[in-house]
Symmetry: C2
Subunit: 411 residues, 2 copies
């Protein structure tokens, strides 16, 4: 008997019929003697409908009240799924984030989980009950409803698995695993049987969109065994297992995949005085405004000043530019702030590159042969990322996928 | 400065535009220096949509899970209204029933309020904040979400007014007050400037549908000044005040109105042994099944047995019949159980009838002249009710409204 946490996304619970399918799948696991906790998203389209409704009232909805509204999406799903499980003859009980209680900080619309009280859930499980938990939501210390931000249901699933010390956290989604790159861009893309946490972290943060980055961090931190599976296949198969032990692989592939992110915007602060503390003075106000910064690059200055570049999500570009121009630039005495929100990021990812040389030069040569200019370059032990003009994105992904032989089964 | 509780029903908050109108109305009261608490229903149609969704999963939805789902309707409204109030430049904060906390019993889908913790609300009011509370919902001692049943938002409004010792509870609805009868049936129906609690109680319970009966009971019990107003008129006027002191009226009208209820079903237990405790043995199991019983009639038996009749809401007819036939009849040894769910109830209501004779005979004569047969008769100090074939309902209401001169301003 194992304790399994399953997470189903919006399309997996998008209609009453699909909710019944989820209930049937859960019933199979119960029949095998497992204990099951299910975390669910809102029915697909519901979150967007609620946000649109809020925007009819306020063009920039109050974050606290937006969370009150948006969190109802998952609340409807948990009730429906609990009913569907009862129809399968199972005991079932739904929990909102508040009811669990999933304690978060008070950063409305992008809260972070602080702790999960697993006592009531465990009592229900011991009572042979399937527990259905609303993903994406929690409650702060004052009892305010919070949401974890887009994709936060994955994090709920992993956090529940960690709190309950579950044997496995299964993320059911509309793809059957993690691919070497997006099959919509490269039809030859292959499903990976396993991928390391580090690679997954890079793949997710770089926009592979299979899993939300925070959920992978969480899984890594608490050593949660995480598996990505399809919720639409009758037999979901084995999906992609996310592993800790890279050396489990007999023969390590050099590169596991090509990740990319279309929603990238680049900002450069020009003529920054080259002295200690300047990075903090630039990024502090941006971070205070709850804007996530992705790539950060600073070149060594030659004339006592330097240029400082970083990327943010495109949706936060205007807000970030505003902070930099009006608060940061006058304060630190920079010469100018320039931005470009028509950029994209492409990365090659793989733990194998640690023991191989020449990956970077192969990547740069491949792109150069297509005439693609590199605006920013950033490297880590297991990935190399470049920022390019967004119009070359698909081309770049395709040629890199081929150059690194990712379409070959024995790559 | 007064403390006012306002309650807005589903049609009053049916669209974003109407929610903005509500916010403007609240802003007027704030501008006059009042403290305002607003209780709201779900946007019109929303509760039915959610129930329909639940029924796609379970034809008879699990009550606990149904409450989890249905309570989201009001939760969306409170968020939207709080936003609209902020757009008006006001401080505003939303509360779910759980957040308040509105403690109820655990009778899912028809819970009763046990207590309201008004401390946080009062702190917000003192901080110049408009408080927006989700109507219709609460939380039981175990933290389960409950709903108060249809129309329960009125009860929330009155209960909040009682807990906060508010100066007035204003129920905004789609009519501009309480009428002598339903204007859709009798166009000559007039708005009453005031009505006593006792009359209102009879009017509401008999199906006038302006206010939910429990809210009126609550208002009477806690001496809450209750006023019914239109939420659609630019200037809502004075509506109808519900008073305690019947002698406030200079000249008491004999009859205040004609109430009626279409959703009545009649059940008769035939050949009941005429001995003490039999009424409890019949109605106990019905009540245990949470079925509300309305009229109850028992004739004195002549041959050691008697017939026992009562009415229930038509939607619970099948369930009640089932209990009576399978549990009650064999247990008490009754001869038969018969039912009729094509009945309706018509009542004349008025505190004035206490000091007048001949009201009953006038009512019966009026109906007899139209050839309407009376299946059950029940009287109280301030009302006389009859159960008739439902096809005569409109006719009965019209002729009684005229017979008691309710269309005359000085009636």
């Amino acid at each position: 008997m194992a304790l399994i946490v399953q997470k189903y996304g919006g399309t997996s619970v998008g209609t009453p019929e699909r909710i019944k399918n989820v209930a049937r799948r859960v019933a199979k696991f119960k029949a095998q003697g497992h204990q099951v906790v299910v975390a669910v998203s809102a029915m697909s389209g519901e979150t967007n409908r609620l946000i649109a409704l809020a925007k009819e009232i306020q063009s920039e909805p109050d974050p606290r009240e937006l969370d009150v509204i948006v969190s109802t999406g998952e609340q409807v799903t948990i009730g429906l799924l609990a009913m569907a499980l009862k129809e399968q003859g199972l005991k079932a009980k739904s929990y909102t984030g508040d009811q669990v209680k999933i304690l978060t900080d008070s950063a409305f619309t992008k809260a972070r989980i602080i702790s999960i009280d697993e006592q009531n859930i465990r009592a229900d499980l011991d009572n042979d009950c399937v527990v259905v938990v609303a993903g994406f939501q929690g409650v702060d210390e004052h009892g305010n409803i919070t949401t974890l931000g887009r994709g936060g249901s994955d994090t709920t699933g992993v956090a529940l698995a960690a709190a309950l010390k579950a044997d496995e956290c299964q993320i059911y989604t509309d793809v059957d695993g993690v691919y070497t790159t997006d099959p919509r861009v490269v039809p030859e893309a292959r499903r990976l049987k396993s991928i390391t946490f580090e690679e997954m972290l890079e793949m997710a943060s770089l926009g592979s969109k299979v899993l939300q980055i925070r959920s992978v961090e969480f899984a890594g931190k608490y050593k949660v065994k995480l598996r990505v599976l399809s919720s639409f296949l009758e037999e979901p198969g084995e999906g992609t297992l996310i592993t800790f032990e890279e050396d489990n692989k007999m023969e390590q592939a050099i590169i596991s995949g090509i990740a990319f992110n279309r929603d990238e915007a680049k900002i450069t602060v020009i003529g920054v005085p080259d002295k200690p503390g300047i990075a903090y003075q630039i990024l502090g106000p941006v971070s205070d405004a709850n804007i996530d910064v992705d790539m950060i690059i600073q070149n060594v200055g030659t004339d006592g000043s330097t240029d400082f570049s970083f990327t943010v999500n495109r949706s936060e570009f205007t807000k970030a530019m505003d902070i930099l121009k009006n608060q940061v630039q006058p304060h630190i005495g920079a010469r100018n702030v320039v931005g470009d929100n028509k950029t994209a990021k492409v990365s090659v990812v793989g733990v194998g590159m640690r023991s191989h040389v020449g990956i970077a030069s192969k990547m740069f040569r491949t792109l150069a042969e297509e005439g693609i200019n590199l605006q920013m370059i950033s490297t880590s032990e297991i990935k190399i990322s470049v920022v390019i003009d967004e119009k070359y994105l698909e081309l770049a992904v395709r040629v890199l996928h081929k150059a690194f032989d990712l379409d070959q089964e024995d790559a």
